[in-house]
């Protein structure tokens, strides 16, 4: 790896499309590049070395194929059109995007597929692709020019605006690069959704009706089950909506806020002391009122005094956040969202199973106290009392 440090294979960055080419199986010459923009990006030798992956066997038609070779990544979607009018009774072609080898390309796959299918449509209707050669041989080079023009538009628009609209004759298609994210974790009843960005950053109208019904109840305090009741939407629908919102990075899930919660600082807390922007954000958000900004030392002291065994209530008694001009709820929210602190959950665990009580079935160590409270509707206090009485059940904090 003697290349630039920032660009290496596996860096996870997205690179631009370097080249788009159309390859076809010529009845006489075999696999060849019909047309590419920019010209001569893929040399003849390179193409020949990888042609078996560009025009593959029949079994691999309509598969997204990505081959990495010669520091290039070639992404294609081979297509075969059966028709008696072709010389070999079939027309094989493949529209390929070329990237640097370090670039991530998964998000271009649906795009290549869509564009290929668009071209297939054109080919079936007018023979747009198969007549490239003949047209250039004869007096009318318009087909070829049109294709080059089209590929140029795709290349430039996708690299610049990450979307592109093509219309040729009666057919129009829209292409858009959509980033691929990990699936968000399942949303549970006791989770609390919170907006990551201010509400006015996105238009409410763009979401579906159920989401619109749910949105007003997301305030960083209500948990999912409560939102479901208040919005009068079925709980599973709410979860699906929230999961969708989480996927698009609009909301995040945090644990429910209670004064009996325990939080501990993570090693990321250090960032708060050196990152000026984080400091400013933090102070702005945790302030009780916009006019009185708390001092960073007080905020930091509050965070760093969170420890195992110290509940938020203890912290409030010891430091009096009102006097420090700090809103403890927002303090915790900000800390959790930025990863400066993390919640220490409490897990009731039953040591030996004698099946004496029904509510004990939840004490398997898999569900935290929040979860149990939420699903059974029993208050935290009640469960704690019950555990206190039973020597068989212990609490684990983690």
């Amino acid at each position: 790896m003697d290349r630039n440090d920032t660009y290496f294979e596996g860096c996870g960055k997205e690179g631009p499309i370097n080249c788009i080419f159309l390859a076809e199986f010529h009845p006489v010459a075999g696999p060849k590049i019909t047309c590419q923009v920019p010209d001569d990006y893929i040399s003849k030798d390179t193409f020949e070395a990888v042609s078996v992956y560009i025009i593959p066997k029949a079994q691999l038609q309509r598969c997204t194929l990505t081959i990495t070779a010669f520091d290039l990544k070639i992404l294609g979607y081979p297509i075969k059109i059966d028709n008696k009018k072709y010389k070999r009774n079939a027309f094989y072609f493949n529209l390929c995007f070329v990237f640097d080898a370090w670039s991530r390309t998964v998000h271009y796959e649906p795009l290549v597929k869509k564009l290929s299918e668009y071209l297939t449509g054109m080919e079936v209707e007018t023979g747009f692709l198969s007549q490239q050669d003949e047209a250039s041989n004869q007096q009318d080079p318009s087909n070829r020019l049109r294709l080059i023009n089209m590929l140029n538009i795709v290349l430039q628009d996708l690299n610049k605006q990450r979307m592109c609209t093509l219309s040729e004759g009666s057919m129009t298609t829209h292409l858009k690069v959509v980033r691929v994210c990990h699936d968000p974790t399942p949303v549970l009843d006791h989770h609390v959704p919170i907006f990551v960005e201010p509400l006015d950053f996105f238009q409410t109208e763009q979401w579906d009706l159920t989401t619109q019904q749910v949105l007003p109840f997301i305030d960083g305090i209500n948990h999912v089950a409560k939102i479901a009741v208040e919005a009068d939407v079925e709980a599973n629908l709410v979860k699906a909506c929230l999961q969708n919102l989480e996927y698009y990075g609009v909301v995040r899930m945090i644990p429910i806020f209670q004064y009996s919660n325990v939080y501990v600082p993570t090693s990321k807390l250090h960032r708060l002391t050196i990152n000026k922007r984080l400091q400013d954000d933090c102070l702005r958000i945790v302030a009780r009122s916009g006019r009185q900004i708390p001092s960073i030392r007080d905020v930091f002291r509050l965070y760093s005094n969170m420890a195992h065994g110290t509940t938020v209530r203890d912290l409030c008694i010891r430091f009096d956040p009102v006097a420090l001009r700090v809103d403890e709820k927002r303090l915790v929210q900000f800390g959790v969202l930025e990863g400066l602190i993390r919640r220490v959950h409490k897990y009731p665990v039953m040591l030996s199973d004698d099946g004496s009580s029904t509510s004990l079935q939840h004490f398997t160590g898999l569900s935290s106290l929040d979860e149990i409270c939420c699903s059974t509707g029993i208050s935290k206090k009640q469960i704690e009392d019950q555990v206190e009485k039973d020597p068989n059940v212990i609490f684990l904090w983690k």
Partner: protein, 594 residues
Amino acid sequence: MEANPISVFFVKSDSKGDRLLFRYPYVSDSRTEQNQQNRKKNPYALSVAEDLLLSPPPQSFNIEKGQLIGFTDEVLSTLFAVKQELCDNKFELKVNDVRFVGHPTLLQTSNRSKFNPDSKQSNPSILLIHIVFALQAVASHSIVKCYYDLSKRLGVALRHEERRCGYVTQEMKTMIAAHDEVAAREEENEGKTNEENISPFDLILEQCSLARDLKSAYDDLCSNGLVKLRINRWIELSFCLTQKVNQSLTQKVYKGFMIEPEAIECLENLRPYHGLLLLVDQNLLLASFPPDASPALTRLVSMYSPLKNLQTLSADADLTLAQVFNLAGHLVYWGNAMIIYPICESNIYTLSADAPTHVNSPLVEKFSEHFVGECLLQMMSEFSLPVSIRQKSSPLNPAQYETQLAHIIVWMLQHRLLTQLHTYVYFMPSEKGLGPAANSHQLQETPSATVVTRREGSLQSTPDENGLMPHVASESDLSSIVSDDLSGLTPQSQMNNWLNETVWRDDYLTDFTEEEKSAILKIPASSNPEDLKLLVHLIQQGYFQGQHHLEEIMYLENVRRSQLLQLLDKFRDVLVTCETEDPALSIFYSHPYA
């Protein structure tokens, strides 16, 4: 599991064409394909005559129930028999949701005429062999790189064996013969009921050692990620899928918890005060070393103790520190060890955030087998609140209790159930946050601004000194008590003491701004020169910016813990402490919250 291989293939390509000689695991592909054909025909589907886009339903997945589907051996062999230009380079092909990785290796078939002169084939021919692993497409880049490396190593080993004794040619002949035999048998059986449909791969597995090696590699990769082969009973090949190795012990099911090899290769944050914790039994580990293992490694492991830090280990094993660091990295890479802070009485442990708390977790049973009469969950609840060995021990406990406890802690650390908490110190004299040392840290970003403030500070210090004097004088009683110690250090007379004090104070605090100075001087302990000196020294060394935990400061500055704790207590108004885990060791834990 994205680190698991789906399949392994062995393909050859020579003058007689390309052929897939072996694959593992092999299933009768035809059956699954038939099923697919059946599934496609939905009796209720409307058949649209001109719907060309939909006529062959595109297949967008090739993995079903962890097995590769939809590729015949012929297709695969044409894909893997790469052109000469691509040889001896990384081969990476992604088809739908499968990623094929390999290293096509060119080798010259050995010139056998030397050994048996009656052989007709005397001129060597070029042969391409390719061992390909099929992975899930989502596998991370580092996993792909590891598999590529394995394929390359296999290729190199085979190339050597071919040159040495024509091993590959021989194995290939057996494989081709097996394929032909089965094909011939099938032809014979045609028309009859095929009650005994034997796969050629069964036969190959019986006859070829290379096929068996590939199978065992595949099985090992799936089970624990450690591959140890002896190709042709000659070439030793060992390989470790780091992402996988560390999972087998902890039995964690968290998705995405893997230790990346890159993270281990750059154990940048390793310090001499860190210690090793072996994850396997010391004697078992020693026994598992190959005969040609480095003697340094053997020495290190035999000297090992979780109580020693790397520096002590290097002294005990008579190795340089750099060597010990490398060996430690090696042990971590192979999943034999992890890095900890050496176990001692004052270490504070707590339950790690990813510890499995399930009642029926397999660790519970494992623990009770190991420590008779102890219950893991009970033990875990004792560590629910951070606790040190010292706090847990009391004179009432039986004598062997502490050693037992240490063993339990070692076990729990090995299984990543415990995390150690360290105390970090931040010097925050003013409301603005970190003190002068932090400013100098920011110096790189805005050099001019901070330099000016510094200078301003030192200029102002002269006039303000007078203002400070009464404050100092009020504490002179206290300082006079201290001055006995001082007299030993400075040869000045008691008379000059008062003057003297302002001098040393000023001396120590010249680099501080006025605000910081006054904040420090407000604290009664600042009148003690020893304390102030230590504080100023530690601040100036940059230890109080939250990047050094107490143990590190102790190690680097050669101070005692009690000394530091007293200092923290005395100057608690300007020092903020915070307990977190050591970020240098965080690679050993998954962070579900992050």
